[in-house]
Symmetry: C2
């Protein structure tokens, strides 16, 4: 864990490359620091010295008198290394390198040299290729973005500079307060994980927003995010969902975008809520940073229009908001507020005749009734709905709600309504013109609450005979292959304690018959050859072998087929395996993801994965409970639960196999990818069998 305290609370800040030209970044940063009200030492550095934004500049950082914990570097790329060297002499702790022209344009070496030098001299690097850093705790706006930042309790960590600057502007306009904004750019040293690790312990931060394009060192990020989401809500926007988007992301930053499904699964695992748009993410964070914790999940919709009530009920289902449905309690609570032609059912319909006074009393009811946990309050423009009066009522009521009970508002109508929404928002009230926007905020609040209430799941580590696996790998590599043959994969599975059907490899008729008798009929027979990967295409598989004669026939025809199909194939023999009874076919796998390191995968067999793309992912290590959550995300999971009158299947064994595969990939860095397809699963207690196992080694040398 890195200590970033002095990055966020520096005693003094130097700006190397401070400029006299007010249009240059080097001027704007100094100006923003001064205007932002930072009380520490402000040290512009410019060879010509003079005064910059009202502050005396030094010719060199080494001429600065006073402690400099942070140096903002905004000199041209070619001068950055020199500046870093000067900073080392001044014992600077953190470098905020705004300058671009490094790895984002392929200039990796210079970036690496700078970071290596900095780390060797006890300095950490933020950037390069960033717009700077804002730290609300010391009112430090060391960015070249807007000078007007509203202090508050949302922290933003952004990979994109442009989006970061735009979000600062948007939050200021919307009255959303920020505790910090950090641009991470090329992440040459400090990355999101380092920053989130700091922010999770920062009392000023009540919600964290991350804008990500790609993930590197994902293993560490997963463990940090899991911890962070248990302390406060974390919201992520990840661009590059689509193939085209991923290509665009890769072209404009230096990082791999990764598979969106993998990212999605891992964010669920970490309890991170994923927003689709910038507006959604900001709305969520603003709400999450302000809303009190709900006492229970009984949510009530109060409306003056049936139509918007129904739209809100639809949205509640979509966003996982539980609508309270005890009709007698609701009637008891709201009977006095609702006219005869209205409804005390949820949505509570005050009818189009409702005035601001009616809202006042029903909001009071909802606020004071301990059976109600949260409130969604809707208003439609009507002849009697006075937006101004309503706004006043809400402002007054919200003061009480803000301490007691989560509430969101949505108002639909014309200019007076829109003015009301703007006024409410500027007063920190969660008010929206779109019903879905309001309900989705409530949804993430409850989603975070559910995550926080889950018991901490300790990742499960499975003991593994790494030595046996290591010797198999060595022999495969010695043979110049990067894939394992059937008998090699079997040794790995056995070392990991994963059950396969009994089998033997036979080199001739006699051995084959003997093997089949020993195993017991029926058996299946498969070619074993390093030259034949697609066994069934080559006619290299025979099923339902019932007796000795059939073994001989099959041996002959498999040999003949394969020789025809791949004339010079080297045949290692023919595998004779017990033919297992039918069960539910699943696919389980583990692989080393370029972003996240070891990940595991689950799906139902064959068609479900290949055609319906019905799979789920998690990062390894993970707990048994989380493995089961992953499986439960697939649409076909009910088949394992015993749908259609069938028995419940041995889900425990599937969980176990998945954890074992994850362990193999984690412990054996030379293994890139393992897939069992199918893993045939039997009724509960009766286990599962790995029928076909494919193991690939890393193409390059292991990276550890």
């Amino acid at each position: 864990m890195s200590d970033l305290k002095s990055l966020f609370e520096p005693r003094g800040v130097a700006v190397i490359g401070a400029s006299h030209n007010t249009r240059k970044i080097g001027y704007r940063v100094v100006d923003n620091i001064v205007k932002g009200g930072y009380k520490g030492g402000i040290f512009p550095v410019n060879p010509k010295a003079g005064r910059i934004a009202g502050v005396d500049a030094s010719r060199s950082i080494n001429e600065v008198i006073g402690e400099v914990d942070v140096a903002v570097i905004a000199v041209p790329a070619v001068h950055v290394l020199d500046a870093v060297k000067n900073c080392a002499r001044k014992h600077v702790e953190h470098l905020v390198i705004i300058t671009s022209g490094f790895s984002e344009i392929g200039n990796n070496e210079e970036e690496r040299e700078i970071v290596n030098f900095a780390r060797d001299h006890g300095m950490r690097v933020l950037g390069p290729n960033i717009f700077g850093l804002y730290s609300g705790r010391v009112s430090l706006n060391a960015t070249f973005g807007p000078s007007d930042i509203t202090k508050g309790s949302v922290s933003i960590v952004t990979q994109s500079g442009a989006i970061g600057i735009a979000m600062i502007g948007k939050t200021a306009y919307e009255g959303i307060g920020l505790s910090s904004v950090i641009s991470v750019g090329n992440k040459a040293d400090l990355d999101e994980a380092d920053l989130v690790e700091h922010l999770m312990h920062d009392d000023d931060t009540r919600a964290i927003l991350m804008y990500l394009e790609g993930v590197r060192e994902g293993e560490r990020m997963v463990s940090v995010l899991e911890q962070a989401a248990r302390t406060k809500p974390v919201v992520a926007i990840k661009s590059g969902r689509s193939a085209r988007g991923a290509a665009a992301a890769a072209s404009h930053t230096g990082s791999l975008a990764g598979s969106d499904e993998v990212f999605d699964g891992i964010m669920k695992q970490c309890g991170v809520m994923r927003a689709e748009t910038i507006e959604e993410a900001l709305d969520w964070c603003a709400f999450l940073s302000r809303a009190p914790e709900p006492k229970n999940d009984n949510t009530v919709i109060i409306t003056n229009g049936g139509g918007v009530g129904v739209l809100a009920a639809d949205a509640s289902e979509k966003y996982g908001v539980h609508l309270y449905d005890d009709a007698s309690v609701l009637h008891d609570a709201f009977g006095a507020n609702v006219p005869d032609f209205g409804s005390t059912k949820n949505p509570v319909d005050l009818t189009g005749a409702a005035t601001a006074k009616d809202y006042d009393s029903s909001l009071s009811t909802a606020l004071n009734d301990p059976r109600i946990g949260a409130v969604i309050c809707l208003g439609c423009e009507t002849a009697v709905f006075d937006a101004k009066q309503f706004t006043d009522v809400v402002k007054k009521k919200y003061a009480d709600f803000a301490r007691t009970k989560p509430v969101v508002f949505s108002l639909v109508g014309g200019a007076a309504i829109e003015q009301g929404i703007t006024t409410l928002r500027q007063n920190g009230v969660p008010a929206f013109s779109d019903v879905n926007d309001a309900v989705s905020c409530m949804g993430v609040l409850f989603g975070h609450r559910r995550f926080m209430r889950q018991p901490v799941k300790d990742p499960e580590r499975v003991p593994l005979d790494v030595q046996i696996i290591g010797s198999v790998i060595a022999s495969v590599k010695g043979d110049g292959r990067n894939f394992m043959l059937a008998n090699e994969a079997r040794q790995v599975m056995e070392a990991a304690g994963i059950a396969l059907p009994e089998s033997l490899v036979a080199k001739n008729f006699g051995a084959a018959v003997e093997a089949a008798r020993g195993i017991g009929y029926p058996v299946v027979m498969k070619i074993v050859s390093r030259d034949i990967i697609h066994k069934s295409d080559a006619g290299g598989i025979a099923l339902n072998i019932e007796n000795d004669d059939e073994v001989v026939d099959a041996f002959e025809s498999i040999s003949r087929n394969c020789k025809e199909h791949v004339p010079n194939a080297h045949i290692d023999g023919i595998e004779i395996a017990k033919q297992v009874p039918k069960g539910i076919e699943t696919i389980v796998g583990a692989r080393r993801d370029p972003s996240f390191g070891p990940i595991v995968m689950f799906g139902l067999g064959g068609v479900y994965v290949e055609i319906m793309k019905d799979v789920a992912f998690r990062a390894y290590p993970l707990s048994r409970a989380e493995t089961m959550s992953m499986m439960g995300e697939t649409r076909s999971y009910p088949l394992l639960l015993g749908a259609r009158g069938d028995e419940r299947k041995d889900i425990e064994t599937v969980t176990d196999v998945i954890l074992r595969l994850g362990t193999i990939v984690k412990e054996c860095p030379e293994i890139a990818d393992i897939e069992i397809n199918p893993l045939v699963v039997y009724d509960q207690g009766e286990g599962a069998k790995a029928i076909d196992v494919r193991i690939l080694l890393s193409q390059n040398e292991s990276k550890g």
Copy 2:
């Protein structure tokens, strides 16, 4: 087809129940008509006469001198019938009944009496329980909603009064022009279909927005919507997606909400675009009513921030917008606009250094290049991005774009940016703060274009021997059942030309053996009994019967099992059927939907439908092409196309069977529901077999 010309262009309008009290609906309607600038006759009717909103009132409509084509009725419910009778004497053509207190609170009879009287006297009824009608063509605001309505080319048809009024307010604020607004309320006579049928021929209307809670007379609606969507874009918001929402919708209006999946399928069939929220629907309609037709679908994203570019690329995939990807053309076109460190790939990245001038030139390029069909222009707040200058450039450029090429804008940033968006929107420019909102508008434009370019698909009618089916139905009913036995269902299938495996019903061993020999082994055997619906639960099915002995054994065991399971069951015999070879199992069905009448359904067999809910629906009648579109919507459809190296299946026969089932339900109103599960489908040209057919009759007497 009803002629509603005089409803939208009346020579004179009476307001029965006009009030002197300015706070009453009866005053507001008169006041709105006067203020709206309607040039026809305005006739307030009030027993006390006098002047209302500056107009002389009559004591009774029969005292009015002048033509009255429309009478707005706002008297209490008990007086409505009398008012309607007076209107008949005055030869009024259209009644706009604002008054509530009819079917929406269970008072169906009085509503029916009013409508029957009106129809008998040549009058059509809008409402009751509505807020009125706005017709831009004659500047008639006969509503009690806002008096300020912006004239334009979007028409709104709404079932919810509150949402309608709110939308009027919102459109006025947003500068979205309306050509008409019609509140349909209880739809006792005129419904959405009647109004859309009128609006599709209305040259003032360029886009139609419908807010629906439930659908009645859905058959007519489907045919009207299909025609309407070929003339202009139609956008629908349907509330009650969720179970809870549907319950709320049913409680506050008088109509059934229907299954959301059915509604969704039918809207696709009709080319109607479904919006999720009010804001989305209004944004779409405003854009669709103004945008020129795209010349081609090559869309280009222009941005100054890579991050928002990626978000827009993601959104383009989501909303079906084709991003132009000819790199050499793009480089040729934008090379001069983009600096070295930017990108001419799509998204075209002008970089954070882009000024309003750079946008000006790249927008000009995009506008003038005939290879580019549409433009998505994004801007992030930066140090050099001047929102004011940008807004001016866009306003100027948009004047050209508006006639030539669809364009949307999205800007992210602070107060200056938000001000820019507001200014642009008020000038009719499609500008949004959220990237997805901008891209989704482009998506519906292209979606509508694709629908318009599809050849008109004539619904396919299949000849049917209705007489045979009728006699089977008569015999089932004569037997006091509402479900058909296997042999009855077989007769219906044969009358409809749907192939079943050869089969016979045998009453004893001998007949069974004879039947099996005649059919040819292997056969399956199934109990035939009106008392045993779940045959396999009762042990009433035997598969893989290979020879005479097995027939005898199976006959015995089926008889014994069934007698044990249902002691007093009446056994009609045992069916001996050819055991068909394996194929792809599908489920096809047709039923009478309470909202839409005959509908058809398709899904892949067993697990896909039951666990994965992977089914699609359409309204009948439909074309072959549309039937195939329906099948193509299921995620498992690739199995029929011959996924995983398999042969393409006989999709044509499945299409044919679906159309035949639809025809049966359409032509035989006494049949409520038919399902073939499974319909086993073979390779192309080899047909399909209906293995199990379930046919249910309507519980009540046929409603025709």
